[in-house]
Symmetry: C2
Subunit: 396 residues, 2 copies
């Protein structure tokens, strides 16, 4: 840990302008074989602009997150807005691409360079892309070669190994992991943008096709097409627009201190814990303040690991936490209220903004049937990608 060098200058951050999200929009996640990234993005962008009450011509700069075929995507999806002459950059950080877009946008607005900007995340995924796996990127070629030979190049295998170790060290059970998916599917029933709106019992999840023991198919994020967009603006000008502003209170970003010869939680646990701590520190809050949380459950155990690593329960108790309903909508902290990656879907480039959109809805009290009770003041997202993580803490 002593080698970590990326700590943000908090004093400097506090001197910058406050930044908020004033609008979000999404194209329903799912399989959209007949729609291109442009068509999906247009729907998400228009919804975000309408939500914010911001005109097309008010947008001063833009960032686009996408993973596959990113080249020139921003130009294409911003379309006529780009033809207004605004700067549009493309950014990529695997499954954390669009939260990277939002982070960069946040800096530019906080620094005063722009007042009102737009971020878009979009993806068209090949069937089986996630399960085919991009894991192991970032290691050196020899590591990757051995990882592949051992089946570790496949994301489900990586998560399954961590899950098995968690079971062995802490006594968590396959049923607890499965319960994550049961909860996700239940939440997604109340989210019209979700890819899957299917009620699944514990037995349904446990009896689904086995992918990598203990992970069955419904404990893995699907391949998804979709788009999400958000309008970011300086708090001092937010009153000009109708969208209720939700402030970006803190953020963090970094890369795992990666030990390519480690397996299980040795690889990343300290990392997410550190990232969470940096974001809490920047926002001057603790986990107790966070009432709604979206985490990167690309595979069901991921939610349990994140709940522990972000400090919502003791190490090793995450499985029980979920099993006891503490992560339910009316629990201690509502986790993945929109269905998470597993049920809302995971179009890689769009996931980060979708997470933020859910927190914005929850903090505004606009989440409908899945609204977290008690007027939550703070919400948080943890968006992981190969090579990094972006965390945001939002406040009303």
């Amino acid at each position: 840990m002593s080698r970590v060098r990326n700590r943000v200058n908090k004093e400097a951050w506090k001197k910058l302008r406050e930044v908020c999200i004033i609008g979000t929009g999404m194209h329903k996640f799912g399989r959209w074989p007949d729609k291109g990234v442009e068509a999906m993005s247009r729907v998400a962008i228009q919804e975000a602009l309408d939500d914010a009450g911001v005109e097309f011509d008010d947008i001063q700069a833009g960032w686009c997150g996408r993973v596959s075929n990113i080249t020139s995507t921003g130009l294409n999806v911003f379309g006529a807005m780009a033809r207004n002459g605004i700067l549009v950059d493309n950014v990529e950080k695997a499954c954390a691409s669009s939260s990277t877009a939002v982070r960069i946008a946040t800096w530019a607005v906080a620094a005063g360079i722009y007042d009102v900007v737009l971020c878009v995340g979009v993806e068209k995924m090949e069937r089986g892309l996630v399960t085919a796996g991009v894991g192991g990127a970032g290691g050196d070629p020899l590591d990757a070669f051995f990882a592949y030979q051992m089946g570790l190049f496949l994301m489900p295998a990586e998560y399954a190994l961590r899950a098995v170790r968690h079971m062995s060290e802490f006594g968590s059970t396959p049923e607890q992991f499965a319960q994550v998916s049961v909860k996700s599917h239940k939440n997604a029933l109340m989210n019209p943008y979700a890819q899957y709106q299917i009620d699944m019992s514990l037995q349904d999840v446990m009896n689904d096709v086995m992918i990598a023991d203990p992970l069955t198919r419904s404990m893995c994020a699907p391949s998804t097409d979709g788009a999400a967009a958000t309008v970011i603006c300086a708090k001092e000008v937010a009153h000009k627009y109708k969208g209720k502003p939700i402030t970006i209170a803190g953020w963090s970003s970094g890369t795992p201190e990666y030990n390519p010869r480690a397996v299980g939680d040795d690889v990343t646990e300290g990392f997410v814990r550190r990232m969470g701590q940096e974001a809490y520190d920047l926002a001057d809050v603790t986990p107790k303040d966070i009432k709604v949380l979206q985490v990167h459950d690309a595979f069901a155990p991921g939610e349990i690991f994140a709940i522990e690593e972000l400090g919502f329960c003791e190490e090793g108790k995450g499985g029980q936490f979920v099993w006891d309903g503490a992560a339910d909508i009316d629990g201690e902290v509502a986790v993945n209220t929109d269905g998470g990656l597993e049920s809302r879907g995971h179009p890689m480039g769009a996931t980060g903004i979708a997470m933020l959109a859910e927190i914005v809805k929850q903090l505004r009290g606009e989440a409908g049937d899945r609204q977290v009770p008690g007027d939550p003041e703070y919400g948080m997202i943890q968006n992981m990608g190969v090579g990094g993580c972006n965390i945001f803490i939002l406040k009303t």
Copy 2:
């Protein structure tokens, strides 16, 4: 022009910290079939760190620019540095990818979020990629279809059409365009990092294989492999390191106000002029202050267009300007002193930082045989990509 909405808040920019470049490094540009992006980047990164006198562990964040196969590149090329836990993002803006990395890094440092960061640009190019062309991206599918049918989807054709229109409107000649390439090749003879170190006479250039009349092969940027890196830091901490700081005095970035039904300079001329003006404005300088300039001569006429659009001569006089030697190393403004895209080479993701590296060398007085005389105080780059442009003005 009235639709342009991306003007930077100059007052806010002036309140931020001054940012400088304290080190640059490159892997020699050329054809490197046996080297991956990691191997080339490592050479460029080490050279940049050595030049700056910055240790590996001092780097707090990183950005990587690449066009093809960008996914996870940053993580791979930063290697053990990423394993220190620092944030590493990938950014893409076609041929302006690595200058986009530098712009975002500049914001983060100016805002005080980080003190010392690293940017890398890298590319491995398929043979013929540029001449096969990515032009036309950004238009709608129907425009792209017609553009392709008309041969306009090919970059050389786009530049050739603009060149022919320039000849027709202003009386410029194929010899003037060819002279750009003669000068570039002459300058590249003095640049050990250049892909081509071949002396070419006007006759050699004019008699080369015709690609798109009036552009012969040596008037087109080649396909290139290469990497470039730069260490960016806050001016207030630059004294801690040995690299002589060169200040980022101004920048601009935007997207052409694109009219897909226009051809020739209608498409972009107003754009580069506007971008140049924004950068001059931010840096409080005029073209008269700039003594060394790297422009995006993906094709030879591009240098002439840029010289005009950036205000170094009247509209239509750029051909004569180059022909008269005013863009030579000892001319009014030394243009593409390192050989430019045509002779130094154009590994898309690396080009922007290579341009900056040349300006840094020139302003430090470290450019050896190709040193611009008279201790230049200001230098400028114009890095174009499909979908945008980044301009930087540097000062000693």
